[in-house]
Point group: C2
Chain length 348, copies 2
Amino acid sequence: MARAPQPGQRKPVTLFDVARAAGVSQSTASRVINGSQRVVNEELQQRVLSAATKLNYTANLSAQTVARGKSTTVALLVSDIADGYFSSMAAAVMRAAEAHGLRVTIAVTERNVEREIELVRELRGQHARAIILAGSGYLDAKLTQALVRELQMFEDTGGTVVLVSRSNLPFAQVDLDNLEGARRLAAALVRLGYQSFTVLGAERTLVATHDRVQGFRLGLEGHGIMLRDDQILYSNFSWEGGFDAIQAMDESALDATELIFAVNDEMALGAIAGLRERGMRVPDDVAIAGFDDIRSLRNIVPSLTTVRVPVDEVGRQAIARAVEDGGRADHKVVNATVVLRDSTPRRR
Amino acid sequence: MARAPQPGQRKPVTLFDVARAAGVSQSTASRVINGSQRVVNEELQQRVLSAATKLNYTANLSAQTVARGKSTTVALLVSDIADGYFSSMAAAVMRAAEAHGLRVTIAVTERNVEREIELVRELRGQHARAIILAGSGYLDAKLTQALVRELQMFEDTGGTVVLVSRSNLPFAQVDLDNLEGARRLAAALVRLGYQSFTVLGAERTLVATHDRVQGFRLGLEGHGIMLRDDQILYSNFSWEGGFDAIQAMDESALDATELIFAVNDEMALGAIAGLRERGMRVPDDVAIAGFDDIRSLRNIVPSLTTVRVPVDEVGRQAIARAVEDGGRADHKVVNATVVLRDSTPRRR
DNA sequence: CTGCCGGTGGAATAGGCTTTCCGAAAACCG
DNA sequence: CGGTTTTCGGAAAGCCTATTCCACCGGCAG
């Protein structure tokens, strides 16, 4: 395609141009600019560098990727980038990636496996260095199978897959200590005097939610309190999920509840909105606790008791797993810490 | 580099492989798979397609970019992806981009021009189709010059630059009607009975903040109320900015204020926190209004009066500007609408 | 003085894809 | 039915870089 030299649409300057301007071969220019193993004469180096500066050269990343057969881009897959948890995670991952000279492209799965599979497929085409899968996880076993297959194909072509807080699959993982965090939270709440609980869980296939529910239960049991199955309401891992769960709750069940534990903060916030809608006050009528400690909690009154997830650390670890291509199926657990605030005052 | 065929590290299947498997030439395979202008025989199409499926072929995006000299990636530059406004914007842009078959890569500028310049430079190397610059804007005229130069070089190589709600520079723009939105807000507040105001502005060079302050002033003047310069406090376009501004306020000035207008919601939320710290209640002691209508407002009590910015529309328009490469220096204004809520009750 | 070696620049090739250009076969037309 | 288009595969050139391979240099030991 003979791109007509449109007015003001110069052809980008290539490495070849730089080489010519410096009076050296392309290979030499390449060696100077990207710093390969080979040494080049000091003087030639200078010539090349100054030519590059003069011409305002920037390496063509795609061409480099093709030539090297390996890219410097890692992909971050999240359910919803507008969600505070994921956007903080994205920020953390990007920060960590930069320290390794990596670029990050973010893709949104909208909590849809098929879309996710499609994305992984595309990413394979893009030769992404790694795929970091944060959040989501699905009910349909067959689709999960398909996803795993796709992820495996991705790894077959040399990429690394990193799962963040997700169902147990045969890939490198960064996990939060969801179980322990929730267990400690439960213990702390019991110590504050709470005795009857309702848990707002999310999709059961999500390792995160499952572990949080389980941990909470264990924490209660440790103090001799049993959590009945009908005290666990399953909904979605989102604000709406929390809101809807509360809307759907029996009047009597609600009255019997002293404290609601939502498996993440977004759900907790949705639940609070739902409670408000039903004319109930937090914490006077019912106490509430969440999980994650997302940034926007600083705006909530009363302040919300939660379990802090060190997103920065998670991001850092995810990138670390992504680059050390050695450690296939490597596992790293990040601790979570209980933060007691005003939404769960001491009782009695 | 003779990549040793590591166990389980197959070489990716290429278009050539597909062509061979289908018994056609590479050109034909290419034509079938990417749908070029040229028509190919129905039967060959089938052969190619089924071969591609069988081999699990995915096009190598980098190679396509190199070959086409043009990519399908647009870059979104934001100050801080963890900020609710920007993450919603990002979500909107990505949604819109997808409809056009474009990929989005997000980069974070951390409100730092040098970094921004650096990023634009890199993006030129990546042959991004377009750069969407959202937020930020700077004090230093020299650096702004440098940025503009870099952006122009980017356009010289065939990319498009789209500015979202940003200082007036010679590029395509999507603007909010900040002035009119703020003007209407002011008018509405006066009608509710408010008479003495404090405005929390942000960096003056930001077109957004300047227009919002200006619009608010005009709205007040329309009702015969003057806004004195000492009633405008300049700070940063962030939660901390709002918080700090309130912390730094004179006791007397604060007492004399009936309503605080922060030029964006994050600042307003920071201001509320600051007020709480100083023992003042909203709206009993002082009313407050923001701008943007970010998602997390749904969790705030009392609900916050604000001006809604239709982020989806903005994202859509930004992408529209990005693809129609014709309209250089094209300008689109998106309306903003006043949303009155509980943080500004009718007065007296 | 000769043969060999480490070092360094350049030519050539690889990498995966798109697109132009050719040529042959098919379709059309008088 | 001959000549002219049109249609549609395939070969080959090109996009930009990285890297291999080759050639040539001076140095060094024998």
